[in-house]
């Protein structure tokens, strides 16, 4: 039974890492209705910029601040150059624009910093916590637990930002109804700029944690694939949904791989969350925490 709980806890902690990426998607979608295909590329770009700056002599704190600045500027530029000219265009046009954007960011990142694989040490060892191993026989990684703590801080911060600040309330108003928000004088494009900048910050946090876990390399762009079933499960517009969805996906894929995998030849971890998400779509298309849309006929 302890092995079952070890798989479950490992899965939940992995799920938190998926949630970190999913959060970036949710922020953009919530405010502008755009599914930002480039979120994975932003994660890659942020991590690569951070390690690139460190290689150029920046200390960690300075590199972090500079990368944050770069991500905010990048977010504002994306809003100004790519999305603003496409206002009032169909959603699919905006989605296609973000697909193009993802390739541009990936190419630009490699042009700027090179395609070498880099290590990233955040000073948190990815090793089991001895006390937990001694008392329970289960291995729980210090790194995974720290990542969960950082994710909790991030979600709390975002929740406070959305609920307690003027900008946050304006963001919520824009998310609820663009036209109504415009009518009461909320500057829509400024809000979108802020959201893209915040998404850039979330990408930086995700990039640092994933980069420290697997190395800073192009494959970081693939973490976006892990976020998709999380979004379907949790809902595209909900921050708590991204967290809960991540936990469900992480736990279910690990349990499925360990307990069902051996019966079907293994390797099901990659697609099992998508099956789960598809089944979920049949019963709750808007996701666990997504808003139910009621259209007048």
């Amino acid at each position: 039974m302890s092995f079952f709980f070890e798989v479950l806890i490992g899965g939940l902690l992995s799920g938190v890492m998926y949630s970190l990426v999913a959060l970036g998607f949710v922020l953009i979608y919530k405010a502008s209705g755009v599914f930002n295909f480039a979120q994975g590329s932003l994660v890659f770009f942020a991590a690569l910029t951070f390690v690139g700056l460190r290689e150029h002599g920046f200390n960690s704190a300075l590199a972090l601040l500079a990368t944050l600045g770069v991500m905010i500027v990048l977010g504002l530029l994306i809003e100004r150059i790519v999305l603003r000219p496409l206002v009032n265009q169909p959603q699919i046009t905006l989605f296609m624009a973000t697909i193009g954007l993802s390739f541009v960011i990936e190419g630009f990142a490699q042009l700027l910093w090179g395609a070498n694989v880099r290590g990233l040490e955040l000073g948190i060892q990815d090793e089991p916590i001895e006390q937990i191993t001694t008392y329970t026989g289960m291995n729980v990684s210090k790194f995974d637990l720290s990542a969960a703590g950082i994710a909790a801080l991030l979600v709390t911060g975002l929740a406070l930002f959305f609920s307690r600040t003027r900008i946050g309330r304006a963001l919520r108003a824009v998310a609820d109804d663009h036209q109504a928000a415009l009518a009461v004088g909320i500057p829509l494009q400024q809000i979108w700029g802020i959201v893209w900048a915040v998404a850039g910050f979330v990408a930086l946090v995700a990039g640092l944690l994933w980069g420290a876990r697997n190395g800073v390399q192009f494959a970081l762009t693939f973490v976006a694939l892990k976020a998709l079933p999380v979004l379907i499960l949790g809902g595209f517009e909900s921050i708590p949904g991204a967290i809960v969805g991540g936990l469900i996906v992480g736990a279910s894929e690990k349990l499925a791989e360990v307990y069902l995998g051996p019966y079907v030849g293994g390797g099901i971890e990659g697609w099992f969350p998508y099956v789960l998400a598809l089944v979920f779509l049949l019963f709750r298309p808007e996701g666990l925490f997504g808003e139910k849309h009621i259209d007048r006929v």
Binding site: V7, G10, A115, F218, V223, V258
Partner: protein, 441 residues
């Protein structure tokens, strides 16, 4: 008017001279990958390869007076792009493409029929179809130096050495963690055959592409408690595996990686988790070999080097690229012995590769003693070598911990012939009779 005529005549003569010069060139496509998820491998290997070619041009004036030329084409490790690059480059140069190095098992598979039809040899050095080692069925494919099955038998021999003898393998459990792709699955049959022969248990655990999440696979390892783990990864799967092993406390010096899991790009991102990890290799790391020193002297001092990050010179991937250069140039040399000192066609190059011999003495002349193993290719044997060295990561660099370990040829060769015969039957091919092939010049 006279001066205009002289100028035109001068231009015409220049054109003729340039054309004659171009006719004395041997064109080698460099279809590799410098961006994308596997750029670290592609840029390192093609960096070493191109630097070696440039060094031969700068130091020796080419091969037999024939200048070596090349053109890069980005495949992004993508089959469709690989085929596109091949089609784009196959007719370039005075005699067309001399030889193709796809640097991808998938692209190699996609090009096997095309290259045979176009009479352009493929060198798949340390990757590709293992059964292409049977040159009777695959005349234009050369999985040179060592194939995956040979490597795997050498790995089991290494484990046997560590355990105190091959008889000690009985009762052991070995987990094979593999990339869930054609490349990853390539060694399952040979491992199963070895398990049967030596009496150990093998458990295969697939990792879905790209392998950036392996918690559940390594929890299964923790549950199985294997004596050894074989890691058959690529790209991000490798550092992720090492970190996941550290997370469950599995000793890294009991994990043996394939040569695509054994470069600095696999260990550095894993940090301390990689310390002690062992991987197979068909070349070693290090920049002190005379061949690498010559590259520095003739290429980098002239600011013509391929590697932007010069600390990578002497790394595993870079040196593997130099091995690509050595076998290509030596095969051109061999072809010129028979067909004359002129640009070779693909068909002539095929002969050169098939009759390639690189002895210890020749390796010494090349400044590559201990850098790679001697090679002897033939119509029957398109692998030509088969031996593997084992390297261990000490936290900073790869160190060789064994000499060249020979494969279990008695086990591998019949399996290769069986698989190649099945391919020949499927494709309705008549295998060549190697006794009727022209002997070396």
């Amino acid at each position: 008017m006279k001066s205009v005529k002289s100028a035109l005549l001068g231009l015409a003569l220049l054109g003729v001279a340039a054309s004659a010069h171009a006719q004395n060139e041997q064109f080698i496509p460099m279809n590799g990958y410098w961006v994308g998820p596997y750029a670290a491998g592609g840029s390192g290997i093609f960096g070493g390869f191109i630097d070696y070619i440039n060094m031969i041009n700068a130091r020796d004036g080419g091969v037999g007076g024939v200048k070596l030329t090349y053109e890069k084409c980005e495949t992004e490790y993508n089959n469709a792009r690989g085929v596109e690059c091949y089609e784009r480059e196959k007719k370039k140069g005075p005699t067309g493409a001399t030889v193709i190095h796809p640097l991808s098992t998938g692209i190699t598979y996609s090009l096997i029929d095309k290259a045979a039809a176009d009479k352009i040899p493929i060198i798949s050095l340390g990757y590709g179809r293992t059964d292409a080692s049977d040159g009777r069925v695959f005349p234009y494919v050369f999985p040179l130096i060592t194939n995956y099955w040979s490597q795997n038998t050498a790995k089991i021999k290494f484990i046997g050495m560590r355990e105190g003898g091959m008889d000690k393998l009985k009762g052991l459990t070995i987990v094979n963690i593999y990339h869930d792709s054609a490349y990853g699955k390539e060694t399952i049959p040979i491992l199963d055959a070895q398990a049967k022969k030596y009496g150990f248990t093998v458990k295969h655990i697939p990792v879905p592409h790209p392998g950036n999440e392996q918690g559940s696979q390594w929890l299964q390892v923790r549950q199985i408690k294997p004596d050894w783990v074989i890691l058959r990864g690529w790209g991000v799967m490798n550092p992720t595996a090492l970190k996941a092993a550290a997370k469950i406390g599995y000793p890294r010096d009991r994990i043996i990686g394939v040569w695509w899991s054994g470069a600095e790009e696999d260990t550095i991102p894993a940090g301390d988790a990689a310390k002690g990890y062992i991987a197979a290799g068909f070349n070693v790391a290090g920049a002190n070999f005379p061949v690498i020193q010559d590259i520095k002297k003739y290429v980098y001092t002239k600011f013509k080097g391929e590697m932007e990050d010069q600390t990578r010179i002497g790394s595993i991937y870079y040196n593997r690229g130099v091995v690509h250069g050595i076998v290509t140039v030596e095969a051109i040399r061999k072809g010129q012995e028979k067909f004359g000192k002129k640009p070779l066609t693909g068909e002539q190059m095929r002969w050169g590769i098939e009759n390639l011999q690189i002895s210890e003495a020749r390796l010494k002349e090349l400044g590559a003693t201990g850098f790679m193993q001697p090679l002897k290719v033939s119509c029957m044997d398109h692998e030509g070598g088969g031996a593997v060295k084992f390297l261990q990561w000490d936290g900073n660099k790869w160190n060789a911990i064994t000499d060249w370990i020979q494969p279990d040829r008695e086990l591998v060769r019949p399996m290769i012939e069986q698989s190649a015969a099945a391919y020949a039957k499927e494709k309705n091919l008549t295998p060549r009779d190697c006794t009727k092939e022209a002997p070396p010049a």
